[in-house]
Symmetry: C2
Subunit: 234 residues, 2 copies
DNA sequence: GATGATGTTGGAACAACGTTCCAAAAGGTT
DNA sequence: AACCTTTTGGAACGTTGTTCCAACATCATC
């Protein structure tokens, strides 16, 4: 009983001690509950009952903070994956994991779309590459395919995050899509026949399902082009 | 006096008169020459030899300004396309047009990746949809495929723009990619075998070529899954 | 021409932000 | 106790988007 209080006083001295982990955790809470625009160093300092200057002893900048927060979410996604799947299923699992993470934390989508060279994307790209290798994709095509998958996800990340940003309080995504559909339906019929025709299916569609459809499309392309025969549709 | 009929005689009053077109034009010049961070209402007012307040009589907000500038560039791309092409070639032409526009104006990439619901993306999506229809893609798959192509482009747009932002003055993109490659080569071999192996080909690769490879991949997937013949490469 | 009405201009002012600075406090070591 | 290092927290700085408002220009009407 008495042995527990031996060393490491530093960690236990003050329960409210500041640390990068605690700051990132508080930042994620603010981002999740009040949105990206609510994350300011003043709001963060207020929540942690400290001053802005103290935060800068643990965090280099706001960019550093957002990067760390994104990293936290993405590594959580990648470590939670079941290994040993069939390559195609594994790729879908990775993609869906990122999608769900962005669905739960839309600010991650903004961050990934805006800073795609940050560390957080590397585990995703690595995961794609490994599975493509397992799929039998050869040489430089591996990187092309992995990059295509990643770009597709990053594009959707930005789109999804922007949608949430436009909602700004409205929790109903269907209502948002209905608004977009209305705008599409009012477009010039001569210039936008396709969008006018596609508008009705916009509010009804399932984001997650369409996302997976895109992944399957790319996977089908990979299968078609990387096999022994080259399907030149000319 | 009840005489207040508007005659809408918005004639040209002065040659140096302010207008939304002139403001957008000046904004594009600043964005192109000095980068996205250089575009402030003060810098814009200085370049147009006026005050910030005057600008707000023609432009609602900075977002409005960026949206208008992006629209200007994208409509320029879409109207410059030669019609009557074969569908697959037409899709590639649209994609390459957007890619080249982002290459020439990296801030367009930022804008598209960040605000994908703005008007500027609609002509692109419409173009894809029309060509897919011509390709014989049926029903809801049209929208899935068009959306996949668009998301891929938007993801690459953000990635490309972020790369330029990180360069910040260095004109050599190869040098930037070499830096990234070095960082990849230093990764943990146990966790990142694929990226370490892919690193050497990073500085050498052609962005435009890889971009087209991704488009071809998606097109191959479309052909494989939606055509009359199903190329089951199993 | 003079006169209002209407819209434009330009610069000062405001609130908010990220960031820096620094004096006080806390903690650890001798 | 005395000293040094790290941490804290709040004030202050410079910059941003935006608003406000007094001066100005333009034009239909007297």
């Amino acid at each position: 009983m008495v042995v527990m209080v031996t060393k490491t006083k530093r960690a236990e001295r003050r329960t409210d001690a500041l640390s990068k982990e605690r700051i990132v955790e508080a930042a994620i809470e603010i981002l999740d509950t009040d949105g990206e625009s609510a994350l300011t160093f003043r709001a963060l300092a207020a929540r942690l009952a400290t001053g802005s200057g103290a935060l800068y002893h643990h965090v280099a900048s706001k960019n550093d903070l957002l990067t760390a927060a994104t990293e936290e979410v993405i590594t959580g996604v990648m470590t939670g994956l079941a290994p040993g799947d069939e390559p195609r299923a594994a790729i879908q699992a990775i993609a869906l994991g990122v999608f769900d993470a962005i669905d739960a934390h839309p600010w991650v989508g903004t961050q990934l779309a805006q800073e795609p060279w940050q560390f957080a994307v590397l585990p995703v790209l690595e995961g794609f590459g490994q599975q493509l290798q397992a799929l039998g994709v050869l040489g430089p095509a591996q990187f092309d395919c992995a990059s295509a998958l990643l770009n597709y996800i990053l594009g959707l990340a930005g789109q999804y995050a922007a949608g949430v940003r436009l909602l700004a309080g409205v929790t109903d995504r269907t209502a948002f899509l209905a608004t977009v559909a209305d705008r599409w339906a009012d477009l010039d019929p001569a210039r936008f026949p396709f969008l006018r025709q596609a508008a009705p299916q916009l509010p009804a569609h399932d984001d997650r399902e369409q996302f997976l459809a895109g992944i399957d499309l790319i996977l089908a392309g990979i299968t078609a082009t990387s096999g022994s025969r080259r399907s030149s549709a000319r």
